[in-house]
């Protein structure tokens, strides 16, 4: 397996992202999932039977901007709404309220995605590739359907993309089960990029890969991002991976962004107690023999069915006061970052 793209030392961005103009603007995005209730359930609920009628508020009032050629990292624990937010940005799900625009144009209109300029790479390359389809068909289907290439051009097009993601073009007629996890993720990347997107949403693209394969796929991502000038939303629970690829980072907790700012600032001087706790929780490579002390965040994530009043983090927060229990903090500027905390 070789990387076809020459090593490209893509350092931290030189031009300030703001100078390149916004690409994606999300305004007050909210997405609720209402339970599907049968008529019987509704009647039973009306008479006070224990039927779950509460909606899951997966994403609540989230606003952010992704600038052109920028990678925004999105970090959070399971259930915080990061994948839902990724799907909203990619136009796979529609928001309950709020809107999301790509250079001023809405990404969704009447429940349908309006653009092919946003593509997605999903976490599980076992589930995201059709097992009964040869990978050449998987890669060329979108471009043919949208008129980017003709059917006659498809074989050369597929061979070119396989080479660009470091696979042998001779494997084009194989099925997904004939590939390893890392190779499948390369196919998924080729499928997404074959649509010539400007924006790539990556939802945990390396979470299911071994460390040595993860490094190969991350390198491929860095190379292609630089070569194609991609704008990315990179979602991961792995703080070190996000740090590595992101220009800016957003931290989510229970459906809201609690801190967003330049990666270096968020990682070295986190302002929100949740960000601090999360960074302290990550096991560090200990090269010295010192005794290690852990500083875990106390407690667990509350249910998104009934988020706590005030600041959603207050039940677990060492700095929580009466104000935090009563009033929800808004995102407010702190240096180059924005933080939603009364005590930042």
């Amino acid at each position: 397996m070789t990387d076809i793209v020459a090593s490209n030392p893509h350092g931290p961005c030189i031009v300030a992202p703001e100078a390149r103009g916004p690409c994606i603007i999300a305004t007050s995005l909210t997405r609720r999932f209402d339970p599907h209730l049968s008529i019987g359930d509704r009647i039973a609920a009306a008479f006070g039977a224990p039927v779950e009628t509460r909606a899951v508020r997966a994403v609540t009032d989230v606003s952010f901007t992704i600038h052109r050629n920028e990678t925004l990292g999105l970090v959070g624990e399971s259930g915080c709404g990061k994948s839902t937010l990724g799907r909203l940005v990619a136009g796979i799900l529609g928001p309950t309220s709020g809107d999301i625009r790509l250079e001023g144009q809405p990404v969704m209109r009447r429940g349908r995605k309006t653009t092919t300029r946003i593509q997605t790479v999903f976490q599980d390359p076992f589930a995201s590739l059709n097992p009964r389809r040869r990978i050449d068909a998987t890669i060329s289907e979108g471009p043919i359907a949208h008129g980017l290439i003709t059917r006659a051009q498809a074989p050369a097009f597929v061979a070119d993309w396989l080479a660009r993601v470091g696979l042998d073009p001779a494997v084009a007629t194989r099925f997904p089960h004939q590939f390893s996890g890392g190779q499948r993720q390369r196919v998924a990347i080729a499928r997404a990029l074959a649509m010539k997107p400007d924006i790539l949403v990556c939802d945990e693209p390396v979470a299911s890969l071994d460390v040595s394969i993860q490094a190969q796929v991350l390198n491929l991502f860095l190379d292609l991002r630089a070569a194609l000038g991609l704008t990315c939303l990179f979602i991961s629970h792995d703080l070190s991976v996000v740090r590595h690829v992101s220009d800016r980072v957003a931290i989510m907790y229970l459906g809201r962004i609690v801190e967003i700012g330049p990666a270096a600032q968020v990682y070295t001087t986190p302002r929100h107690p949740y960000t601090q706790g999360l960074l302290d929780s990550v096991p560090k490579l200990r090269l010295d023999a010192d005794a290690v002390s852990f500083h875990p965040i106390a407690g667990e994530l509350p249910s998104p069915l009934s988020p706590p009043p005030g600041c959603a983090f207050h039940p677990r927060c060492p700095r929580a006061t009466e104000l935090c229990r009563r009033e929800r903090p808004k995102l407010a500027p702190h240096g180059a970052s924005e933080v939603a905390c009364h005590h930042a």
Binding site: M1, T2, S7, N8, P9, H10, G11, P12, E77, S78, S180, G182, Q183, D210, V211, S212, I213, Q214, A215, Q216, L218, N219, L222, D223, H237, L239, S240, V241, R243, H244, V245, S246, A263, A264, G277, L278, D280, S281, V282, P283, K284, L285, R286, L287, D288, A289, V292, F294, H295, P296, I297, E300, L301
Partner: protein, 327 residues
């Protein structure tokens, strides 16, 4: 130096499949002192889990232990009858697996399952009354940080969160006061904040109770913050072993070095990572000589012959070109 609690010598666990013999564990030797925490690190297919399953006698056909010895507190476990193995498994050697959803019985309450685990070993500590079982189970749940343990005993597994379920699994492992716990990727499925809580608990439990721990993981950082010693496995062999700090500071084996350099935490943000080329070889078609040679930057003609064992104080590696010799 006290006598080792566990001494594994030249362990070979092979899977006899239609496609050929997969040598999942091929000549693994190590020992473990009472109360020691040993990290067993490797990527998928390296044989780390099969090593763990071999220790507790849970290798299913077509796999079997084809050779070698596992001495636990002086007793040979390889070839032990299933009845005698059952007296040890769950009592003196306990296990914690990756997926607590799969290890807990979904149709029994936690209290019932814990009482069964106690009663299964009643030969060892006499009859256990229901009340005594509930008391002991409650105490263990409290020990692993589950609040309101007495009422939680009446809950079913689905009423616990993932992190709490893993705590229940750990409490069950501790129930019979084992001398050794084999934990196979116990925090892989958990969020970082919950993982940190469980690592902290495990470390203090091992220290307080003097229980030895084998922590199987793909995550070098987790192992480095928990273990005293580390074994690095590749293609069924231990390619490097030693004190965790020394191994990570100055690895002897190019594979260990490569694994460390692959971590984003070791690189400048945005820079390409130092990657190991290629992927792990199929166990059915291992290259002759050193199995890592096809991916190794230091490989030469010598590497087509089996690598020699390199001995350094407290450390070992299997390599023709150990990294400390290159300098």
């Amino acid at each position: 130096m006290t006598a080792p609690l566990l001494e594994v010598t030249d362990l070979r666990t092979h899977f006899f499949t239609r496609a050929g013999i997969a040598r999942a564990v091929d000549g693994v030797s190590f020992s473990l002192a009472p109360g020691e925490i040993l990290g067993l690190v490797g990527e998928s297919g390296s044989g780390k889990s099969v090593t763990g399953f071999s220790l507790i006698g849970l290798v299913d056909p077509p796999g079997r232990i084809a050779g070698g010895s596992i001495r636990f507190d002086g007793q040979e476990l390889v070839g032990l009858s299933e009845a005698r193995m059952r007296a040890i498994r769950g009592k003196r050697i306990a296990m914690v697996f990756q997926d607590p959803q799969a290890t807990l019985n979904p149709v029994l309450t936690i209290g019932t399952q814990m009482a069964l685990a106690l009663q299964a070993h009643r030969q060892a500590h006499g009859r256990v009354t229901d009340r005594a079982a509930a008391e002991r189970a409650g105490a263990m749940l409290t020990r692993v940080g589950i609040p309101e343990a007495a009422t939680r005993l009446n809950n079913y597994p689905h009423e616990f969160s993932g992190g709490m379920r893993q705590r229940v699994a750990i409490a069950m492992a501790l129930l019979n006061g084992p001398e050794l716990i084999v934990a196979d990727e116990p925090t892989t499925a958990l969020d970082v904040s919950i993982q940190a809580q469980i690592l902290a608990e495990m470390k203090s439990i091992a220290r307080d109770s003097g229980t030895a721990l084998i922590w199987i993981s793909h995550d070098l950082a987790t192992v480095s913050s928990l273990a005293d010693r580390v074994l690095v496995m590749y293609a069924g062999r231990i390619v490097e072993s030693g004190p965790v700090g020394a191994v990570l500071r100055a690895p002897l084996h190019p594979y260990t070095r490569g694994l460390l350099d692959s971590l984003p935490a070791m690189a400048q943000p945005g820079q390409r990572l130092a990657q190991i080329p290629g992927s792990a070889p199929s166990l059915l078609a291992l290259p002759a000589g050193c199995p890592f040679a096809p991916r190794c930057a230091h490989a030469d003609a010598a590497c087509t012959t089996p690598p020699p064992r390199i001995d350094r104080p407290g450390r070992q590696a299997l390599c023709h070109h150990p990294l400390d010799a290159a300098a």
